[in-house]
């Protein structure tokens, strides 16, 4: 890839041949800048006056709109909703403020552009470009200066200084890295455990009451949370992000997976509601097929077959929670999930 090779593949002549000079016989030569064509405003003072009035009108309209903005702010109540065709029911304050502000701004712009286009000179003129790279003598001067500066510093000669300086500069940012340690706690086994444990009742998410097996009918989808998790708890969001549960009742003979049947109670199966893809809550249930679909990325799981993935980007089945019934006839968990819920991670295994 010598420079000679390069220049051979380049087009022959760049700019110089494209100058404004007419080349005798070259039909494609640059004829040079065309003569300026005057606009109507350049030759007819009445047209220019009309433009002037148009610009002034636009600026005046802007002033009116600003007054309108202030008036709207004062007049319209913040909570008034009105029907405006074709926008439907809108906040009148937002509508009025936005329109008046929009008109006030737009008219300034339109006036300025109209002024520039019709009344300011539109004579095009050329300006020369200059090469950006420095001429050789400047480059030589800079290199010489740099060499002198470097030599005066002794940077190249006194290696001990150089090396220790690099060492110090390389190490000092470590302090900043160390300071980031307390950004968060360490993962430990936190992603492996949820609030569920043996004996915790399943609480209906909607009614906040413990669930009985007879509350669940074939074809219904019910969401549950562990007993003791209240909405006003400080860590509610973090706990529910792992513990959210969905329950469906499937006829026991329709359950294809053996372990699923074992972990169910009279065909009631409990699965983590958190998608194993990237953690969206699954919320769409197809009664006939017992498929559930995550509305975020459309991973589809078959709840009658161990919640295995049948479509979409999820990588593994939803974890199942083993459930039973306590002495009082309420559904309860028989332990925590035996695998981490939600998206997969490196330590999941």
């Amino acid at each position: 890839m010598s420079s000679q090779e390069n220049s051979e593949s380049l087009p022959e002549a760049q700019a110089p041949a494209h100058g404004a000079v007419e080349h005798a016989g070259d039909p494609f030569a640059d004829p040079g800048l065309p003569a300026h064509k005057p606009r109507i405003q350049d030759i007819d003072e009445r047209a220019a006056k009309r433009s002037e009035r148009a610009v002034a009108f636009l600026f005046f309209l802007s002033m009116v709109a600003t007054v309108g903005f202030i008036a709207s702010y004062v007049i319209f109540p913040v909570d008034k909703i009105v029907f405006i065709f074709p926008f439907g029911h809108v906040s009148i304050l937002n509508f009025a403020l936005g329109l008046t502000l929009g008109v006030a701004l737009f008219c300034i712009g339109a006036g300025a552009v109209h002024w520039a286009r019709t009344l300011m000179s539109d004579v095009e003129m050329p300006a020369e470009r200059h090469e950006i790279a420095a001429p050789p003598e400047v480059k030589a001067q800079v290199l010489a200066d740099f060499k002198q500066g470097a030599a005066e510093s002794g940077f190249g000669r006194r290696k001990l200084i150089r090396n220790t300086m690099f060492g110090a500069l390389a190490m000092v940012p470590l302090s900043g890295v160390v300071l980031l340690r307390d950004l968060g706690t360490l993962p430990e086994k936190k992603l492996r455990h949820t609030m569920w444990s043996k004996g915790k009742a399943l609480i209906n998410m909607n009614t906040n009451e413990p669930l009985r097996p007879e509350d669940l009918l074939v074809g219904s989808l019910t969401f549950a949370k562990p007993e003791g998790l209240e909405e006003d708890a400080e860590d509610f969001q973090t706990q529910i992000a792992k513990a959210a549960l969905m329950l469906v009742r499937i006829k026991p003979e329709d359950i294809k997976d053996k372990r699923e049947l074992e972990w169910s109670h009279q065909g009631i199966v409990a699965y983590s509601k958190i998608c194993t893809h990237v953690g969206c809550p699954i919320s769409l249930y197809e009664q006939q097929t017992h498929h559930v679909l995550c509305p975020c990325h459309q991973s589809t799981f078959d709840l009658s077959d161990g919640a295995r993935v049948i479509f979409g980007p999820a990588g593994h089945a939803l974890p199942q929670l083993r459930i039973g019934v306590n002495d009082e006839g309420y559904l309860e968990a028989l332990g925590d999930f035996d695998e981490p819920v939600g998206p997969a991670f490196w330590e999941r295994g």
């Binding site: 404004a20 300006a127 893809h277 490196w346």
Partner: protein, 541 residues
């Protein structure tokens, strides 16, 4: 002595202030170079201005919003004026966003201007980038500015993401959860990264405050710096222009900054602001009151990120759920691969200028914007990239395509999986053919003139259409572009029969160069001889 004081007294106030400033800031020298600086005119040159102005609008409205927004995840019970949400648990962030929307007069308007301007900003940058790409305006000396612009686009995406996550509503929270899932998929360190980002387990109580400082300080600070650098370079390099009579690589033809571009560009700021204000008045955006506060166990259907994040959404949706479990560890390829392709899609367009300059070996400055047809391979690559991006956007909205057009979501997903690989290739081939066709048309026009639409009957009965020859200006315009010759690597053996060492990169470069400029990959420009021959009499075609 007395004459100088007299002169000072006589000078008008404006001049005296300017003198004062010049003595301290040197403004006269600055103004000498820039006040009458020439800018060329073309509609596509305003795309960058849209970006700059929407960025300014975002900063102005953003500052206003910080006066009312509380970046806190403390749980509160809503008792504001929006009845349907009263009594609900929500974070203070959501609560204060509700306050801005319903109780601060004009707060909703500013919120909506802020969000709309962000969408316009990103869309403007995308289109501006494409303009620069397709006209080859990224070539030397502007490669650095191309990278600055690209960084602005990428940072803009993340500023947007952190911004729309701040209200802590159900939709954006779902997006943050998606981000957490994506981070968890990173091998070895993913779990730790997630815990450090969220201050522990998701969602925790920290991320809104952290996103806030990133959204209002860190990213916009960097972006402001980049934008200033971008503008300084635009001034320094001077603008590109299209070839035309009198417009060469050595000059720039247009009108001066003062007054024409001061008025036009300054006025354009108000036009952009005005249009966005009207949009914010009539079109609701991110109505968090209808979406509700975030709960990790709730979601709505049709969840979509803002448009500029849509292609990453497409990647994550269409990727098969591959997971490898080995030695007690999980490699979450189904999420990690999209996470890697996401920056790669962006990087593909960012590095293109350097690939092209390597292939051409061209070290000269370029100030004439190419017409896209005259760089068929580049144009084809750009269209292929856009096609790729659009295919992923379709994937990101596969549920909406399914519901709006009554299609099967499985079919759309499979379509995107295949189109991800096939569509860019088809787009490349089609675009290149179209470009070559347009080049042929230009050559035809130069040689035979413009079709006048006048049909003439010759004495012997033949009908012909009269072609009007182009004037010198039009001829120049259509032939001003340069054409490279393909790079040669030379024979494998030298004249003495000794094998030359030809490195693999050299071979690759020669091959690429042939693909760019070889026979059939560009249409040779008409030559003066061809022109003479056709115009010298006997031809009337």
């Amino acid at each position: 002595m007395s004459t100088t004081t007299d002169a000072r007294r006589e000078a008008p106030a404006g001049e005296r202030i300017a003198d004062w400033a010049d003595g301290r800031l040197g403004i006269y020298s600055l103004a000498k170079a820039n006040m009458r600086k020439i800018f060329p005119d073309h509609w596509s040159f305003m795309l960058g201005e849209i970006c700059m102005y929407s960025f300014i609008i975002i900063i102005l409205t953003g500052v206003y919003l910080t006066l009312f927004f509380h970046p806190s995840m403390n749980e509160v019970v809503y008792d504001g004026s929006y009845v349907p949400l009263q009594g609900m648990h929500m974070s203070e962030a959501f609560n204060s966003t509700m306050h801005i929307s319903f109780d601060v007069r004009g707060g909703l308007l500013i919120r909506q201007i802020h969000h709309w301007a962000a969408l316009v900003f990103l869309a403007g940058m995308f289109v501006h980038m494409m303009r620069v790409f397709f006209t080859g305006a990224f070539r030397k000396p502007r490669e650095v500015n191309w990278l600055f612009g690209f960084l602005l686009f990428v940072l803009g995406m993340f500023t947007g993401f952190t911004g729309y996550s701040l209200p802590d509503d159900l939709l954006s929270g779902t997006g943050v959860r998606f981000m957490e899932g994506a981070i968890l998929s990173v091998p070895v360190v993913g779990t730790y990264l997630s815990f450090f980002l969220f201050g522990g387990e998701f969602p925790g109580g920290d991320f809104v405050a952290r996103f806030y400082s990133v959204h209002i300080l860190l990213l916009p600070g960097i972006m402001l710096g980049l934008m200033v650098a971008h503008l300084i370079l635009v001034f320094y390099h001077k603008h590109t222009q299209f070839a035309g009579p009198g417009r060469t690589n050595k000059n720039v033809v247009g009108m001066p900054l003062l007054p024409v571009y001061m008025a036009k560009a300054g006025g354009f700021f108000f036009l952009v602001f005005g249009v966005i204000a009207v949009i914010a008045a009539i079109a609701s955006i991110n109505p968090i009151w209808a979406i509700g506060p975030y709960r990790p166990d709730q979601v709505s259907t049709g969840a979509q990120p803002d448009w500029y994040m849509g292609f990453s959404e497409g990647l994550i949706r269409v990727m098969p759920g591959w997971e490898i479990n080995l030695w007690g560890h999980t490699l979450v390829l189904g999420v990690f691969i999209p996470l890697i392709i996401f920056p790669s899609v962006l990087a593909a367009i960012a590095v293109y200028p350097f690939i092209e300059s390597w292939v051409t070996g061209d070290k000269r400055e370029h100030h004439i914007a190419d017409r896209p047809r005259n760089a068929p391979t580049r144009t084809a690559f750009g269209v292929a990239w856009i096609t790729w991006y659009m295919v992923l956007l379709i994937g990101g909205g596969n549920d909406l395509w399914a519901t709006h057009f009554h299609l099967s979501i499985n079919v759309i997903t499979w379509f995107v999986r295949i189109a991800f690989f096939v569509a860019p290739v088809l787009a490349f081939i089609a675009t290149k053919r179209i470009c070559l066709g347009l080049q042929r048309r230009d050559a035809e026009k130069v040689l035979h003139g413009r079709e006048s639409g006048i049909i003439k009957r010759l004495p012997h009965g033949e009908f012909i259409e009269i072609h009007e020859p182009l004037d010198a200006g039009a001829r120049y315009k259509l032939t001003a572009h340069e054409q490279y010759k393909p790079a040669e690597i030379g024979p494998e053996v030298d004249e003495n029969g000794v094998a030359r060492k030809v490195s693999r990169t050299q071979k690759l470069r020669a091959k690429l160069s042939k693909g760019y400029y070889g026979e059939g990959n560009q249409i040779p420009k008409p030559t003066a001889e061809e022109y003479e021959e056709i115009t010298s009499g006997h031809g009337h075609h």
